[in-house]
């Protein structure tokens, strides 16, 4: 692997947060081998609690888990109406950060999901389809070492 200049995630996240005035931006990344490649929220800006630190994300569960598993973006305009009360606990970040509307995109590397980027509001503002699109445009094609779209590999 080639040594590359270290990408400043925090700075990049802050830029996104400030530009769109999101209440929270968070980046979950697949951890290195010695942590058994688990997925964890690694960078987070605008958080109210540190509960996220304890959480190890599971494939297929919660926002990050879903995006990670499907490789598809996920968006909810209004968490309250789109999630049943009984399901809330399965989205710990929504509960602990009191999120009301969010969008999340997968980040790829070598054709695999390696990270999940989450942006969210916790007031009456809404991550609308248009805003989500705008956000995706602003990210561009790559975020640090990760790319936004899954590349179709030639077999």
């Amino acid at each position: 692997m080639q040594p590359q200049q270290k990408f400043n995630f925090e700075q990049a996240l802050k830029k996104v947060k400030d530009h769109f005035e999101f209440d929270l931006v968070a980046l979950a990344l697949v951890q290195p081998a010695k942590f058994r490649f688990v997925l964890k929220w690694e960078y987070i800006l605008g958080n109210k609690s540190s509960r996220y630190r304890r959480i190890i994300l599971q494939t297929g569960k919660g926002i990050a888990g879903n995006v990670f598993k499907t490789g598809k973006p996920m968006r909810m305009s209004d968490v309250e109406s789109e999630l049943s009360k009984k399901d809330f606990h399965n989205y710990p970040i929504i509960v602990s950060e009191a999120l009301t509307s969010f969008g999340a995109i997968p980040l790829f590397k070598e054709g695999r999901v390696k990270g999940v980027l989450l942006v969210a509001f916790r007031d009456e503002r809404i991550v609308t389809a248009e805003l989500f699109e705008e956000f995706k445009q602003a990210i561009g094609s790559s975020f640090g070492p990760y790319i936004k779209e899954e590349m179709v590999e030639e077999i």
Binding site: V30, F37, V38, S49, R51, I56, T59, K61, K85, E110
Partner: protein, 348 residues
């Protein structure tokens, strides 16, 4: 014991008047000679009228059949007609005033052979049936829960011992590839596969533990709790402060299961509804009892209104499980203060 005649007559009269059992006397031609108050109370006015008029078939308007060896309600070889068969104790169904068809224990016997007078006595069986039904239901629930636990145990073992093992050996094989002479590109692909397999292995292990933790069967309550709470912390970010004061390493299988499941449910409820980051759990053995306390300082709920956010089935299920091992369960909650669940299971 021999009593004076009049005393006995007196007692018999009192019994006839005040007994909860319905008593009828029929003469040879099956006409009613007398019936007590209880008997009048259970019969429909129409039937009663017919009886007083002396209709020998009056009883048939109320009778829905008796229980024979082959049928629950039958009229074959009717007790009323059949003098040969012994009808000193049998079960009969009667249509009663206001209460519908009710099962009775009946006895129909000749008390005066000379004049052919027969006595028909009825005892309400409803309460007895209800007790029996409750008992049966209790046994049933117990068996269903037992069966469920056994099945969970089986699947959990299967996942852990064979499926997970198989994946593990595949993983080992893959890792060996790293030390062989393979191209960089292939190696990268192999590593991806390795990561996927590792994740799959973790998932399967989680699934197995979620079904029924092997630690509960192999190492007992305390160990199982510790593993479970660690898992809760990792999954939901909620910290469980756990304290144990157990005198024995192992308890009866059933007791361990109940305590584990009730605690699991209680912690899960706190996690779902209490809106708190911390839950405290205590398990102690004291005065020959196993005591479990699950507390949180969360939002609480109105005990009278019940569980507005959930189905309420969880609380019911916990109580049900506690009762299976003769335990008691107390749920206390106050809005803004928190919730506590205390269970005591007697050990013997």
């Amino acid at each position: 014991m021999i009593f004076e005649d009049f005393q006995l007559t007196n007692l018999l009269m009192k019994m006839y008047d005040n007994s909860a059992e319905a008593i009828f006397f029929f003469d040879q031609s099956k006409k009613v000679i007398a019936m007590n108050r209880s008997a009048e109370d259970i019969l429909d006015t129409q039937v009663l009228k017919k009886m007083i008029q002396g209709d020998p078939k009056a009883i048939c308007f109320a009778c829905k059949g008796y229980t024979s060896e082959s049928e629950l309600k039958t009229c074959t070889a009717c007790y009323f007609e059949n003098y040969e068969k012994d009808f000193s104790s049998f079960q009969v169904y009667l249509e009663t005033k206001g209460k519908g068809v009710i099962p009775y224990t009946a006895s129909y016997q000749t008390i005066d052979p000379e004049n052919g007078v027969r006595m028909f006595m009825l005892r309400d069986l409803t309460r007895q049936f209800e007790t029996q039904k409750a008992l049966q239901q209790n046994m049933m629930t117990k068996r269903v829960i037992q069966a469920q636990e056994n099945e969970r145990k089986r699947i959990s073992r299967e996942l852990h011992d064979s499926v997970a093992q198989e994946i593990l050996s595949a993983l080992v094989d893959l890792r060996v590839l790293k030390y062989m002479n393979v191209e960089e590109e292939v190696l990268k692909k192999v590593q991806h596969t390795e990561i996927s397999l590792m994740r799959l292995l973790d998932d399967i292990r989680h699934l197995a533990v979620e079904l029924r933790p092997a630690t509960l069967d192999d190492l007992g309550l305390e160990a199982a709790f510790r593993t479970h709470f660690k898992w809760i912390e990792k999954n939901y970010g909620v910290v469980v402060n756990f304290q144990a004061g157990l005198k024995a390493k192992r308890y009866e299988d059933e007791v361990e299961t109940v305590v584990y499941r009730v605690c699991q449910e209680a912690v899960f409820n706190a996690l779902k509804y209490a809106e708190t980051d911390e839950i405290s759990v205590h398990v102690i053995e004291e005065e020959g009892k196993l005591k479990l306390t699950v507390e949180d300082s969360g939002v609480g709920f109105d005990e009278l209104e019940g569980h507005s956010k959930g189905t309420g089935l969880g609380l019911y299920g916990m109580r049900e499980r506690a009762e299976l091992v003769g335990g008691t369960l107390i749920i206390q909650s106050e809005i803004g203060v928190g919730t506590s669940i205390r269970m005591q299971v007697p050990l013997d």
